[in-house]
Subunit: 190 residues, 2 copies
DNA sequence: TCCTAATTAGGACGCTCGTCCTAATTTAAG
DNA sequence: CTTAAATTAGGACGAGCGTCCTAATTAGGA
């Protein structure tokens, strides 16, 4: 790997952390300078501005999501078990969710308000999960319309649990609701 | 009403709109100056800074919430119908929800990330709804523990629907899910 | 080794930020 | 009316913002 790509990754990782933990608009360029320990000019060289950094972050996250979903597909032959695994993702991330909310939901939600171009940029992350969920429900023999409805509903349930966990800083709620949701999936769709 | 209070209200209303539509951190002091048409000094006279404006906004919103819930209590003798009305609130606000998300969820979520003092300030808005929902489930003869769980779950469902509606700009989803949720309430709790 | 392109450092700039201060004007009580 | 308090206007200020530019350094192929 070229030297510059290492720097790019470092910027992307640090900025990703900052955007998640502080919000996109609350993070300044010099915050990123401080966090990376790089010079201002160096960062500008790799990314013209905050928006380009965001673009890099999204690209990187999309790759992570694809990798994750592919791994789940391999690990779990049963769509039901895949959906269950999807729910369990929230348990893996419970500390972060409690403190900072959903990495996709809070970012897309923030940008959706009044930065339409950046909002469009982040939307594919949601779409990946939506599409993948749709595939699982299709495998479970739902009509495409019904599969889509189920996919969005599950996404919605998970987002709701995340918001409440975040707002009330309540991981007990998270654990209980995920456990209920997993049961519901098994009962409803199996 | 004294002259100054009219100005205060004007500031609160305009800032409330801006914070909701752009986010708290993305709204500058001079945005508020422009939106109100007042002078910088005048706003500073009434509120030292953005945080004090937020404090005023929360106070005002809490009063609105109390008024709303009291009206619902009067209008609907049945707790079930009150819960249904609660869900229907999202339909009344569907245009705003689609564009800007939940006025409480997005604000509290934003501030929760790294402005703990302001986050604490906004939390009571959520608590009002939580408490009120708890009361309704208590009236439905649930144990206090079970009533609390039901209250949080309903809040969670509603937040989830809001997030998806906002992120996907999809009011069809909103209408369908609210309708399903209302049926579920009637079937599960009646 | 040398040379060119890639990378890094950091200063200059104009702008906006939030805060503070002072003066002008309006209000309302006496 | 008079007068003091409440309210409003708007400029001054330093700090931080993002962008741009140039110079120094480094890396890697020839």
């Amino acid at each position: 790997m070229k030297q510059g790509n290492k720097t790019k990754l470092r910027i992307i990782n640090e900025a990703n952390k900052l955007f998640y933990q502080q919000g996109f608009n609350a993070t300044s360029f010099s915050n990123i300078v401080d966090a990376t320990g790089l010079s201002k000019g160096n960062i500008t060289y790799h990314f013209k501005n905050k928006q380009e950094i965001l673009s890099g972050i999204v690209e990187s996250r999309l790759a992570d999501i694809d990798e994750l979903l592919t791994a789940w597909n391999k690990e779990f032959p049963s769509p039901i078990n895949r959906l269950v695994r999807f729910c369990e993702m929230l348990l893996d991330e419970q500390d972060n969710l409690k403190q900072y909310g959903c990495p996709m939901g809070t970012l897309t939600g923030e940008l959706s308000k009044n930065q339409p171009a950046l909002y469009q940029l982040t939307l594919p992350m949601f779409k990946r999960f939506q599409t993948w969920l749709l595939e699982q429900f299709t495998l479970l023999n739902f009509s495409s319309e019904q599969a889509n409805e189920n996919a969005l509903e599950l996404l919605s349930r998970v987002q709701g649990i995340t918001v409440i966990t975040h707002v009330f800083k309540d991981e007990k709620f998270l654990n209980k609701e995920i456990s209920k949701l997993k049961n519901e999936i098994k009962n409803r769709y199996d």
